[in-house]
């Protein structure tokens, strides 16, 4: 279809030229208490936020998982999650599909950043923490360093040079999966996780 390409581009180039407007000034909001804003926004959409000392998250996670009746957990081995039944995402998805779709109760991943304004965690899935971990199991637990939290999206993008380092898939997650398609009534866990739990490591 390179004919289509040539024809479409030729028509666009033949069109009258408009002036290229400058971008008017705009900056995202900043917050005196980022963590508080993050918590308010994420809790408002049914997310859970726990603030924990960085060296205390393993026992705390164990308590959370016990309280939720979790059986099998998926986590990358380097996190050394303390739980009786932990599996790793150690093969391509094709070989793990059945288990991923229906056999994991909770997945633990790390976040590379967070946005206070919208209560958002940012994930860069990779070979150790693939994309489906934050999508298929009904509970998703995210480990986030408080120092990785920015006020707003534009700030985080700039600080982490997203444009220069885009991975295969970059994800912004703000709460558990939800829908309001039936009479604008909110329902959680429609396709993705029913619960999103963020452990903020201070």
């Amino acid at each position: 279809m390179s004919d289509a390409r040539t024809a479409i581009l030729a028509r666009l180039r033949a069109a009258p030229k408009a002036t290229v407007p400058d971008l008017p000034e705009w900056t995202g909001p900043v917050f005196a208490d980022r963590l508080e804003r993050f918590r308010i926004m994420l809790e408002a959409v049914h997310g859970e936020v726990h603030v924990i000392a960085a060296d205390q998250w393993r026992p705390h996670l164990r308590l959370i998982l016990s309280s939720k009746d979790v059986g099998r957990v998926m986590a990358p081995p380097e996190l050394a999650v303390d739980w009786p039944d932990v599996v790793a995402y150690d093969r391509p998805a094709e070989a793990l599909k059945d288990q991923l779709v229906d056999g994991i109760d909770a997945a633990i991943t790390t976040a590379c950043g967070a946005i206070a304004e919208t209560g958002t965690v940012v994930l860069r899935p990779d070979a150790d923490q693939p994309r489906l971990m934050s999508l298929l199991p009904p509970i998703h637990v995210v480990l986030l360093k408080l120092s990785d939290m920015a006020d707003n999206m534009a700030g985080l993008m700039a600080a982490q040079d997203w444009a220069g380092t885009m991975p295969t898939n970059l994800l912004l997650i703000s709460g558990p999966s939800k829908t309001a398609d039936i009479e604008q009534t909110l329902a959680y866990g429609v396709h993705g996780p029913k619960e999103l739990i963020v452990l903020v490591l201070s």
Binding site: M1, A4, R5, A7, I8, L9, R11, L12, A14, A15, K17, A18, T19, V20, L23, P24, E25, W26, M41, V45, P92, A93, E94, K97, D98, V101, T118, T120, D126, A127, P130, R131, L135, M153, A154, M157, A158, A163, M166, T168, N169, L170, L171, L172, S174, G175, S177, K178, T179, A180, D181, I182, E183, Q184, A187, G189, V190, H191, G192, P193
Partner: protein, 473 residues
Amino acid sequence: MGNDFSSRAHDALNNPQLRRNFRRAMDGLMSKRAVQFADRDDWAALRARGAAIKARALARLPDLLEEFEQKARANGIIVHWAETTADANSIVLGILTDHGAKRVIKGKSMVSEEMHLNAHLEAHGITAVESDLGEYIIQLAGEAPSHIVMPCIHKNKGEIARLFTDNIAGQPYTEDVDALTAAARKVLRREFAQADAGLSGVNFLVAETGSLVLIENEGNGRLSTTLPPLHIAVTGIEKLVEKLDDVAPLLALLPRSATGQPITTYVNMITSPRKAGEKDGPRQVHLVLLDNGRSRVYADLQLRDTLRCIRCGACMNHCPVYARVGGHTYGSVYPGPIGKILTPQLAGLDCAGDLPHASTLCNACVEVCPVQIPIADILVRLRTEAAQPSQAPGVKGAGSNASMVENAVWKGWQAMNASPAVYAAATRSLAVIGNLIPAAAPLLRQWTSVRSKPKFAGKTLHQLARDKGYDNE
């Protein structure tokens, strides 16, 4: 249902259930949006930025398309170009056939609706299952979306409960929204696991990085673009933005305008297929860039503003016409104010020329549009183009509503007003015979069908003034 806007509107207005469903939904959406943009100064600054981002991207569109294509190709995404929806359909079908794909799972995509892709695939033995809950519901009902963001907004839970009981094996009748949602999750999980390919739309294409940005709440868009071995995205050529930075203000506008959410649950930025060593994600990612008349719209500097649209749906949520007649009345994939300006330009004024008239020009849409599209001005322009085509090449079917009688009347009106003697004679004779002309007279009939015919005064304004002692000057 009738086959023009006014007869369909008539049917819709007489459907109290439909009117209740829409009124409730629109009221909710309007108040949620209002909360998000409570600070007028923030709103003004943000939308000025959003409008400028899209206007800049359009001004540089051919360059950005090339830049995007080069980046995306370098990242391993296969880019296709389609002149028409028929071309786009055969490109998608070709990719699926090459992979031997029989089952496709779909994330929400208005461009795929524009292509009528599901029917095309079905006709070639490929099953396409919609996975967005709203789209799944209307697919079960065999209907088209009635809203670009919330496709089944016209249905209440009773109707949905019946649909599920009739179509999902073993599903008991329940109006419980959580139970209905869980039932759909179960059915669609199986579909996701079995699908040979995932199909999605795109919200923004980033030229700088060659990325596809998709937003959603349910996770079905992520599943469609992650679980199957093949991902095909379809989108219009106008979705380009220059920089990744541009995405932040646009994301601050889109979900808040659409549903009053600060952000959607998921923002999914896709820059390449699965790389060596990665364990999931599709092994191939294809992107089909569709023109379908957009480059013609682009050729007219005023009409080009139509292409800034980020498909938030705020214009329909705030439209007094849409709220009363619902989305299906428009008889086109894109309803509401954006549909009234986009559809006639894509399909032609000869096919959809009644749509620009389905407006009171109240300007509510213009006030809420996050990218400041002058919808009302474009409506007036399209009305004019239908009756008196300009020299501009931009409008398909221009002149389709031209009427010799109407043109003659306007010529006469012009001549009358240009000559004091003719004007005086004409107004004087109307003062005498005006009230004798029946309301159902041929040229008046249509106008008086919804209005009362005015009463003519016995004397003209000039005569009254002269009686009071004013001179001609």
